[in-house]
C-alpha cells in the first residue's frame, strides 16, 4: 500500500492523547462535538486547538469501540446536536490512558533532567 498522506499522519500522532482528552471532557457530562472542542480549548486556556479533522474521526472511532455512546438531543440553545456520553468501558479506558500518560511524562521527564555525562555513558 502506498504511504499515508501527511494529513492523516498528524491524526495518528495525536491519537492516544486526543482520545484521553475527549474522554476526560466527557467525564464531566455528555457533550456534542463542538462543545468538546470548546471545552478543551477553554480548559487548556486556549493553548490546545482541536482540529475538526481530528475530532470527528476520533469521536466516531471511540463510538465504534464502545467507549462513548451518541444520542441526538436539543442543546441549551435549543439547537439539535449529537451528544456523546462516556460509557463504563470508556471510563476504564480513560483510567488506563491516564496512567500510561503519567508514566510517559515521568519517563520523558527523567530523560530530560538526566545529567549529560550519565546519559553519554548509558548510550
Amino acid at each position: 500500500m502506498a504511504k499515508k498522506s501527511g494529513y492523516e499522519n498528524r491524526i495518528e500522532l495525536m491519537q492516544g492523547t486526543l482520545d484521553m482528552l475527549i474522554l476526560k471532557t466527557l467525564q464531566w457530562g455528555e457533550q456534542h462535538g463542538y462543545g468538546i472542542s470548546q471545552a478543551i480549548r477553554a480548559t487548556s486556556s486556549e493553548v490546545l486547538q482541536v482540529e475538526t479533522g481530528s475530532l470527528y474521526p476520533a469521536l466516531h472511532r471511540l463510538e465504534r469501540q464502545g467507549w462513548v455512546k451518541a444520542e441526538w438531543k436539543k442543546s441549551d440553545s435549543n439547537q439539535r446536536a449529537k451528544f456523546y456520553k462516556i460509557t463504563a468501558l470508556g471510563k476504564q479506558q480513560l483510567a488506563s490512558d491516564y496512567e500510561r500518560w503519567g508514566r510517559m511524562v515521568a519517563t520523558i521527564e527523567a530523560i530530560m533532567t538526566a545529567t549529560g555525562s550519565n546519559a553519554g555513558s548509558e548510550v
Binding site: 498522506s5 475538526t52 470527528y56 439547537q79 446536536a81
Partner: protein
Amino acid sequence: MKPFELSRRKKDLAEEIESHLKMATADRVARGESPAHARREAMREFGNIPLVADVTRERWGWLRFERLTQDLRYALRTLGRDRGFTTVAVLILALGIGANIVVFSVVHTILLRPLPFYQPERLVWIAPPNSGHDLSSSTYSVDAYEDLRLMNRSYEDVTAYYAFSTPDNVKLTGHGQPVPATDISVAGNFFHVLGISAELGRTFTNEEARTGNVVMLTHAYWKSQFGGDRSIVGKTIALNDKPITVVGVLPESFDFGAVFSPGSKVDMIDPQVMNDVREQGNTLAFIGRLKPGVTLEQAQSEATTLFPKFYWGKKFPESIGAYKDHARPIFLKDYVSGALRRSLIVLWGAVGMILLIVCVNLSNLLLARTATRTKEFALRISLGARRGRLVRQLLTESLVLSGAGALLGLALAYTATFWLAHQGSIALPLMSSIRVDGVVLGWTVLIAVVVGLLFGLAPGLKVSAGNLQEALKDSSPGTSAGRNHERLRTILVVSEVALACVLIVGAGLLLRSFLHVLDVDLGFQPAWSSSINVEYATPVDFKTKDSLSRTIAQRNAYMRNMLQQISSVAGVDSAGLTDNLPLLRNRGWGGPTVKGKTYPKGYSHGAFVYMISPGYLKAIGMRLHGRDFAWSDTPTSQNVIILNKAAAQALWPNEDAVGHMAVLNDEDRLVIGVIDDVHGTNIEGDPGWQMYLPLTQWGGDGTLLVVQSKLTPAQLAPGIMNALRQIDPGQPLTELRPMQSVVDHANSPRRFFAVLVGIFAGLGLLLASLGIYGVISYSITRQTQEIGIRMALGATRERVQYGVISKTLRMALIGLAVGTIASFAVARAISSMLFGTQPSDPATFAGMIVLLTGVAFIAGYLPARRASRINPMTALRSN
C-alpha cells in the same frame, strides 16, 4: 453492512457537521459578529468539510465498500465512453469464457459429476480386462450370473442386462399403424441395485422377473408416446401384438442409453426372463454394487478365484472354467467415461489456452489504453489519489469487463450446451444431461475473476510502478513508446503466438487423425447402402432335424420372395438380410478350426458371427473372393461358411482358404468365400476374426434388410415400405437408416473432439492475429511523428513498410520458435489420441508455421501500409 444504512449514517454525519457549524456561528454572533461573517469564519475554522467527512467515514470501516461502488461507477462511465474498446474486449472475453464454460460443462458431466445413481461410487462394471465397449467378449451366461449372485462375498447384489438389444426391437401395436420402439431387458433387481425408483407406479417384482409381460416406460417415451398420461400405470399396452402391463414410469433422470450405450435412445425396459436366454450363451452384461467397506481390489481378487468356477452353460459340464481370467471389476464410472478422460483433459487444456490467449490480448488492449490514459492518472495522482487506488480502479475496470464477458459467454454457453444435449447422435455418455448448473456457474464466476485479475494485472503494475514524470513524457504521442512498455507488449504477443502454435498443432494432428479415420477402408460401402428392420412371421423350429429343414424351407421361400420384391423396387440395386450390421451390435463365438489339425484341449479363438442371406454381401458392398451364399445352401446341402481375410489367413497361412474344410461346433463346413476385412466392432481397431453363416442353412434371425441404391434413403423409403407392407401389412413404419449414419455415429466422438479443438485453434489464431495487429497498429499510431520525420528525411515508403513488417515477423518468429518446441511436447502427450498420424507430423508443423507466418504478415501489413501513407507534413503538424 447494508447500503441504505450507509446512506443513513452519511446523512447523520452531515447533520452533525451542520449542527457544529450552527453552534459555532451562533457563538460568534453572540460575540457580536454579523451572521454572514460568523458563518464564513465558522466554516473556515472547521476546515475542509468533505475531507473531514471522508476521514471520519473511514473510521466506520465502510469506506472500502463505498470506494468499490465509486470505482464501479467510474469504471462503467469510462468503459461506456470508449464503446469500441469495450465491445471488442467483451466479445473476445465472451468467446474465451463461453468456450470454457461449454467445455467445463462437458467435462463436469462426463468426468466429474457422479453417475445419476444411488451411491454410484460403489457400482462396478464386471467384464474381462480391457474389453472396452466390445459386447462380444464382455458378456456372460445366465448360469454364470446366477452363480455369481449366489457365491460372491463382495457385492450387496449383482444385476445384469441383456446386451444384445437392437434399436426398434419391438413394435407398439393396437393403435393403428404399428410403431417401432426400443426395449432393453434387465434383471429383475436392476433398478434396486442402481438405486432408481419409479417416478410413477413401481419397479419390477421378483414374480414379474420370472414371468415377464410387464414393462416400465422411460420418462421421454411416456411423454412423447402417451402424452404423459398418469393413468397409464396398470394399463395394458400391446407390444408385438401381445398384451403387456405397464407397471411404472422411470424418472427423467434415468437415461439407460446415456450411461450404457451412448448415443442411442431407449423407450422401455422390461424384466429379462432368464430362462429365455439361458441357452443363448453370453448375453448378459454385469453390474455389481459393492458392500460398504469392500474395496475394488478385494472385489477384483475375488473375481480371479470365483469366475473360474462358473459354467458357460451347466448343460455342458466341461464348460466350467470358461470365464477363467475373464472378469475384472472396474468402477462403473471408469467404464462409462474412463476412455474419454484423456480426450476431455486435452479439450480442457485447449480451452484453457484460449483463455490465456484472451488474457494476453486483453492485457495488450488495456496496456495500450493505460498508456493513453496516463494523463488522466497523472491528474488523479496530483489531486491526491494514491497509486493503490488507481491500481484498484484498473482492476475494477478489468473485472467489470470480465464480468460482462462472462455474462455474454454464459449466454453463448447456454445455447451451445442446449444444442449439445439435444444432439442424440453423438456417441458420448451422459451427453443428454449436459447443462449449465450451479457448479458450472461457480466455475464461470471463478474464471471471470481470475481472468479479470490476470489481464488487469499488467496495466495495474504498470501504473503502480510507473514514474509520473516518465509517464507524462511517455504519453506524448509521436515518439516511440517507452522501452519497458514496448518490451512487455512484445513478450505478450510472443506468448500469444506460441500458444496459438500449440493449439494449431494439436488441432491439426487431431484433424488429420480424423481424416485418416474417415479414410479407413471399412470393408463395406456405407455411402450407398441403407438398412431397415423387417419382420417375418415364419419362425424356425429347431426341435428336430426334420422340423428344422421344413421350417427353414418355408422361411427361405418367404425371404427369397421378399428380397425379390425389394430388388424390383425402382432404384434398388441389390438387397440382402443380416442379423447384425458392422459397427452396431456384435456377437462373438468360438471361431472355426482347420479340419484335420489337432488343437490343444480347450483351444478357442473367438470370431464375430454374422448370419446373412444371399445377396447381403453385395448389398452392403463387401468385397468377396470366391462365391456368395446361394438359396441352394440349405440344411440338407453341404455346410458352408465365408470367412474374413484375418481368419482365413490365420487358419491357412500363405494359401487360398477357399475350398478348404473348416470345423465349427464339431461340424465340417466348406469355406466358399473370403471377404476383405470389415471393421465390425470399431473403425480404429483391428477387425479380428469374422465368419459369415448362411441364414438359409443355419436358421438364425436375420431381420435387418440392407439395400444398395444410388438414391437417397428418403427417396427410397416409400417404395421399400410399400413393398414390405404388401408382403406383411403388420410391418411397422421403421426408418430406412443410411449405413453412413452408422459410420458417422461410430466416428462421432472423434469428430466431436476434432471439431471442437479445430474451432478453438481457429479462435486462437484469430485472437493471436488480432493481438499482433493491435500491437503493431498501436505502435504505428504512436510513432506517426517519428515516421513522418524519417520520411521527410528521405525514407521511402518501401523502407517504412519493410521496417514495420520485419518487426512484426521478428515477433512472430520468436513466438513460432517457442511455440514449436512447446508443440512437440504437447503432441507427444496426446500421441495416444492420434490415428495414423505421427506426433511430429511434418505436414501439420509445416502447415502451422506457414499459416501463422502468413497471418502475422497480414496482421503486420495492414498497419505497415498505413504507416507508409503517412504524410510527413500532416504528421509533423499534428502535434
